[in-house]
Each structure stands twice: as structure tokens, then as C-alpha cells.
């Protein structure tokens, strides 16, 4: 301590000031380097935390929100590969058509696009047939229960000009395939 005091004492006022400023600058550089690394690490930690929170939000969403989602999609099966999924979907849809009393022409798969949504491609299935309005309503009501259905892509209804009770229905529904 005494040695340090005597060394400082030998310096002129200007030199002492220079030493002090140098010390402050060195300390500032040290603090800057350490804090930069520290903040960098913190940033990474926060990114990881955001990912974990998102994961948490995904599996455990808000109750009201989840209730809303389940009212739109009450049943769901994880999509299979195309060869498997398309038959599962067709059979279930055909069953629903029959249940609604709609006599349809053979169901027709439309080509799948290349675009992917959430890692899945969209496969569309078209049906055409004549039916009554009530039957259409029955079919639409039961569609939600199809666990392979994504949604209705297209629907065209046209009344017969001679018999208004009879409606020509063209319906395209979709499913996800791997």
C-alpha cells in the first residue's frame, strides 16, 4: 500500500490524471467485453425460453381457445401417407354420403398440389350427385365427424328447373396426406 502510494506520489498531476483515465477506460472495456458476452448468452437463453413457451402454449393453450378449436375440429386422426390416407378418407366420406341418403356418382380424387401446409399436402375428393336440400344439410352436419376431413373446398348446388325439390350437388372436400 505504501509502495503504491509512494509511486503515485512521484507522478505529476497530469500523469496521475492520465493513469486514472486509463484505469477507467480499461475498466470500461472490461465491463463492455464481459457484458457483451453476457448479453449474448442471455439472448440465446431468451430464444430457447421463447421456444419452450411456444411449445407449452401449443400443448396447453388457453381453455376458451381450445374449446373453440374443438367445436370446429371435434375429431381428428393424424394423417397417414397418401396411399393409406386417401382410402380411409374416401371410405369414411362415402359412408357419410350414404348415411345422408345421397346417391353419388363415383368419387373422384383430384390431383394433390405440391404446396405443403404444416408438412402435409392437400388431397381433394370430388363428389357429384342429385339429392334434396334436406339431405345436403344432413351431410354437412355429419362432415365434422369425419376424422380425416380438412374442409370443404368447393360446393355447388343447383335446383332442377323442372323439379325444384331436386338439387344437383357438386362437392369437393379435402384431407391432409403425408
Amino acid at each position: 500500500m505504501k509502495i503504491r502510494e509512494s509511486m503515485i506520489g512521484r507522478l505529476s498531476e497530469k500523469e496521475q490524471r492520465t493513469v486514472k483515465i486509463g484505469a477507467v477506460c480499461a475498466a470500461a472495456i472490461l465491463v463492455f467485453v464481459i457484458s457483451t458476452k453476457w448479453f449474448g448468452h442471455w439472448g440465446q437463453v431468451r430464444k430457447l425460453l421463447a421456444a419452450e413457451r411456444s411449445k407449452l402454449e401449443t400443448i396447453s393453450p388457453d381453455e376458451a381457445k381450445q374449446r373453440g378449436l374443438l367445436s370446429v375440429v371435434p375429431v381428428l386422426e393424424i394423417p397417414q401417407i397418401e396411399e393409406k390416407q386417401k382410402f380411409l378418407f374416401r371410405d369414411k366420406f362415402d359412408e357419410q354420403l350414404k348415411k345422408a341418403g345421397i346417391r353419388s356418382e363415383p368419387l373422384e380424387f383430384l390431383s394433390t398440389g405440391k404446396s405443403q401446409q404444416g408438412g402435409y399436402r392437400l388431397l381433394r375428393l370430388k363428389c357429384s350427385g342429385k339429392c334434396r336440400f334436406g339431405q345436403i344439410l344432413d351431410l354437412l352436419a355429419s362432415l365434422k365427424e369425419n376424422p380425416y376431413l380438412v374442409g370443404i373446398e368447393e360446393m355447388r348446388m343447383k335446383c332442377d328447373t323442372k323439379n325444384r325439390q331436386e338439387i344437383q350437388l357438386d362437392l369437393t372436400v379435402s384431407t391432409f396426406v403425408k
Binding site: 419452450e52 411449445k55 401449443t58 370443404i152 368447393e154
Partner: protein, 526 residues
């Protein structure tokens, strides 16, 4: 003026000032290693009683006389003449301090002739004195409550009360040098008696202390070594001339003895000889004469002078004589009280006077620098805590995931939830849409077709009986939730009979209007 200065002071010191009749006296005290040192004494000219001037002569000025700090500093204390102070002694149940305060307030309000807002008071609780001296039948208010009576579960409370106006004036007088404390001078007398005059008698700690001044006499009741009551008698040394005294009992002496007996009765001691009466003395013959007069009146009188062992300890440093100790007994007693840490004095100035030292303490605590430093520390603490929480949280969430389900289940759950979230916005509720269209309030509208395809407006074609019904249908559709931008794209008149129409309805000339309407449904058609 006398002045007796010693060497420069380095330790914590107290300058005590007291007014005695028509002059002021001051002493500078220091206590080092348990030994009291009187560093100097000073007295004003006779008739000079201005406290501000005298304080300045003693080297005191505003801002210099705060509380004693651990390493040194000077504190000033000043004595208030207790001639204007009334003492009461009551017994109250041994309860909490707040409850005692309430009882004291009620008792005082009932006893004092002035409204409570014109009175300042202080109180001090202590044990009830054993020995049970007899009580006077004609006791005044303060003794009638049983001073000296023993009662289980009760404490004796000494109350000092004075007019606020009088106290305020004194506070204004002393504010110029901001003393750390204002004390009652009778408490200083008791303190000086205990330290310098009591000797072996001090162990008894009970008695009547009589301090005879030049024009009046202060009589203090001491119980358990503390002041319990005090009265000032308007008879002093000037009333006893030496020539008169050397003869037999004079009229003055008899009156003084009678006053003393009355005071003892006031204190609650009916028998004059019950309690020792300590007459403070400088060893002079006048006080000896007064004492013998009191003795012959039946009082248990003891003349006390500064006790040699303590006096010698003081003399080492100051070379003060017994006369000096006697002369400066009041300021010395006040100074001793100030030096005693935690001395429980009767502070009737508490509400009216705050010493400068305490103000400074507050300022320091609330200073911007301190606030800034605290804010900086808090900021750093918040950053560190946030960092620690952020570092710990991902691991904690991961742990909870693992505890809730296996990795495979978790992935399946996440995929399923993700799919639901993807599908829900892609699934139009066409059943609801048809219901909405069906319940619109537009009579005579017949729909021929409906065409829905994602990404383009829904198109409906049909027939309306007339334009008004068509417009009504349009408005009804617009009112439905989720349906927007309803546009009538084209219309054409149909001749009557060309198509079926409800009876009694039809356009101009009996025909109907064929129309096409387009609209958007939520986000599915955009």
C-alpha cells in the same frame, strides 16, 4: 464573566447551558473511558439572560450542534426553568405504553384548568415506591393518586405539564443555536446530586433534593434515582442575610421551614422526617444555618457537598473547586444527562422542537444521491434476477414436459394440436351459412343455385318478386354475421308464366326479377 478553558477538545463533547435567576451558566463536558471531564465553564454577567448571545459566546451557532456522532462532535443542551412546569404523579395499571398515554391524556384533561390544546406535557412511567409513607389527608391532585403507595399490577407515572405559549417562546429563543436537547433544569439538579453530592446516600436513591438559589429554592422529590415531582419556593439565599442568620430563628427561616413542610405534604409525605432532605451546599455557613433551621422544624436534613472521590476525578482535568461544582451544578447535571445514552428525560418540547441533527439525518436518507444509488442497486438486482429466472425457466419447463409425458407422446400431442390449429381456419361451416341464408326475412325470394369455392366470392342466383324484395334480401344478408360485401351482380326481368312464382306476387306487368348476388363469407372467400 468567568472563563476557565482547557486544551482543545477532540472527543464527543456536550455544552450545557442553564439559566439561574438573572444569569446564564454553561459548562463543556466530556466523558472519556468512564471518567467525566469538565473542560470549561462560563457564566454571563448578572442581568444578561439572552440565550442566543450567550450561546454565541460559548462558540455555538446554528448547524454546529447536532447529535453526538460516534467519532466526535459537539452537542448543545439547554435547561428550561421548571418554575413554570407543573408535576403530577398518578398510578395506572401496568398496561401497554399506548394505553398509558391515553390514560395520561384523559387524566390531565380532567385536572388542568386550561384546554388540552394549550398544554404541552410529557410523562414517564416507573415502579411504585415501596416503604408506603403515610399520605396527607389534604393532598393536592397529584398526591391524592397515591404517590408512594404500593399497589400490585400498577405503575407510577410522573407527568410534567406546561403552557404551550411559554414553551413556544423558549423554543424561539434557543432556535438560533439549535440545541440537540431542551431539558428541565430540575432533572439536571437531580442528576448532579446523584453524580456529585449523593455519595453513599446515592445508593438509597430516594429523597428530597433541595437546591437553594439566590432568589428561590428548587425542591425535587427523587424516587428510584429519578425525578418524581418538583416545586419552586420563592425564598432564596438573598432572603437569608448572614447577619440575621447567626441569631435565633428569624421569621424568614420559619416561613421557609413551613413552606418545606407544605411541599413534603404535597409530595405525599405527611411525616416531615420520613424521607431524607438533601440540601445541596458549597460548604458555606448560610446553607448550614438553613439546614439546622429545617432540622429543628422536624425534617430529616442532610447537608451534602460534592463527594471527594468523584470530585477528585474531575479535578484531575479541570482543577475546579467545590464552589465551582456547586455553582455549575445545574448545567453539569444537564450535560451528564445528554452524555448518557438512552436517558429517559421528561421531554415536554417533543412536539414543538426538532433538533437540527434529526432533520439532517432525514435529509441524508432522502437525498437524491442515496435514492439514485438505491435505484441503481435495484436495477442491477432486477437485471440479475431476470437473467437468473430466464436461465432457470427453460430447464424447468422441460422438466415439467418430461414429468407429464414421454417424448413420443409429447411429439404426438404437439402434432395433433398443431394440426387442429391448421385445420380449424380452413374449415368453413357451410351448414351455418345455409341456415343464415334460409332465415333471411325476404318473402318471395327463390334461390336457384349457390356456388362456393375457397378464395372467391360466393355466388347465388335466384328470382325475386320485385326489386324491393331483392333489396330487402340484400340488406338481410348484410346484417348476418360473417357475410360482407353483398353485391347484386345482374338482374333480368322474367315474363309472367315463364317460371313458377308465388301467388299474387310479381314484378311490373306480373313478371319476376332474376338475379345473381355475390358476397364474401368470413375469410374463406378471400
Amino acid at each position: 464573566m468567568s472563563n476557565n478553558r482547557t486544551s482543545e477538545v477532540t472527543g464527543p463533547t456536550v455544552i450545557a447551558i442553564a439559566q439561574e435567576e438573572n444569569s446564564l451558566r454553561a459548562v463543556c463536558l466530556r466523558k472519556q473511558g468512564g471518567v467525566l471531564q469538565v473542560l470549561w465553564t462560563r457564566s454571563s454577567e448578572a442581568g444578561q439572560t439572552d440565550l442566543g448571545t450567550f450561546a454565541a459566546e460559548c462558540g455555538l451557532s446554528a448547524g454546529r450542534t447536532g447529535q453526538i456522532e460516534p467519532g466526535g462532535g459537539t452537542m448543545a443542551v439547554v435547561g428550561f426553568n421548571s418554575a413554570g412546569v407543573t408535576f403530577y404523579r398518578i398510578l395506572v395499571p401496568a398496561v401497554k405504553e399506548e394505553e398509558i398515554a391515553q390514560m395520561v391524556k384523559l387524566q390531565i384533561e380532567a385536572r388542568l384548568p386550561l384546554p388540552a390544546e394549550q398544554i404541552e406535557l410529557a410523562w414517564r412511567a416507573g415502579p411504585v415506591r415501596s416503604g408506603s409513607p403515610s399520605r396527607t389527608g389534604s393532598a393536592s391532585a397529584q398526591t391524592s393518586n397515591g404517590a408512594g403507595r404500593v399497589q400490585d399490577g400498577r405503575v407510577a407515572v410522573t407527568i410534567a405539564a406546561a403552557r404551550r405559549e411559554q414553551i413556544s417562546k423558549f423554543v424561539e429563543d434557543v432556535r438560533v443555536f439549535e440545541p440537540a436537547k431542551i431539558l428541565l433544569d430540575c432533572e439536571g439538579i437531580v442528576e448532579a446530586w446523584r453524580e456529585f453530592f449523593a455519595g453513599d446516600e446515592g445508593s438509597r436513591r430516594d429523597g428530597i433534593v433541595v437546591s437553594i438559589g439566590s432568589r428561590n429554592t428548587q425542591v425535587c422529590l427523587v424516587e428510584f434515582g429519578r425525578l418524581s415531582n418538583a416545586v419552586v419556593i420563592d425564598t432564596g439565599m438573598e432572603d437569608f442575610s448572614a447577619g440575621q442568620w447567626l441569631g435565633s430563628q428569624t421569621e424568614t427561616a420559619e416561613r421557609f421551614a413551613q413552606d418545606m413542610r407544605s411541599v413534603l405534604e404535597l409530595f405525599g409525605y405527611a411525616e416531615p422526617g420520613e424521607l431524607p432532605v438533601f440540601v445541596l451546599s458549597d460548604g458555606g455557613s448560610v446553607i448550614e444555618g438553613i439546614a439546622s433551621c429545617l432540622e429543628s422544624a422536624g425534617l430529616n436534613v442532610r447537608v451534602v457537598v460534592p463527594v471527594p472521590p468523584l470530585y477528585a476525578g474531575v479535578r484531575e482535568k479541570t482543577e475546579l473547586s467545590a464552589d465551582d461544582i456547586y455553582e455549575y451544578r445545574v448545567p453539569i447535571g444537564l450535560g451528564l444527562m445528554a452524555l448518557e445514552a438512552g436517558a429517559e428525560e421528561l421531554n415536554i418540547f417533543e412536539r414543538l422542537y426538532n433538533p437540527a441533527g434529526e432533520k439532517e439525518k432525514k435529509h441524508r436518507l432522502y437525498s437524491p444521491k442515496v435514492a439514485g444509488a438505491i435505484a441503481a442497486v435495484m436495477l442491477v438486482a432486477v437485471v440479475i434476477v431476470s437473467y437468473a429466472v430466464d436461465v432457470a425457466s427453460p430447464n424447468a419447463i422441460e422438466k415439467r414436459f418430461r414429468a407429464a409425458a414421454s417424448d413420443a407422446d409429447m411429439n404426438l400431442l404437439m402434432e395433433r394440436q398443431k394440426l387442429i390449429k391448421t385445420i380449424a381456419p380452413r374449415r368453413p361451416d357451410l351448414l351455418q351459412l345455409l341456415n343464415e341464408i334460409n332465415v333471411t326475412d325476404a318473402a318471395g325470394i327463390m334461390l336457384d343455385s349457390l356456388d362456393f369455392k375457397k378464395g372467391r366470392p360466393i355466388s347465388m342466383s335466384g328470382q325475386a318478386p320485385n326489386a324491393e324484395q331483392l333489396y330487402k334480401f340484400q340488406r338481410a344478408l348484410l346484417a348476418k354475421k360473417g357475410i360482407t360485401e353483398v353485391k347484386i351482380q345482374n338482374t333480368a326481368s322474367v315474363k309472367a308464366g315463364a317460371s313458377p312464382s308465388p301467388r299474387g306476387q310479381g314484378g311490373p306487368g306480373g313478371g319476376r326479377i332474376k338475379f345473381t348476388i355475390t358476397f364474401h363469407y368470413k375469410n374463406f372467400t378471400r
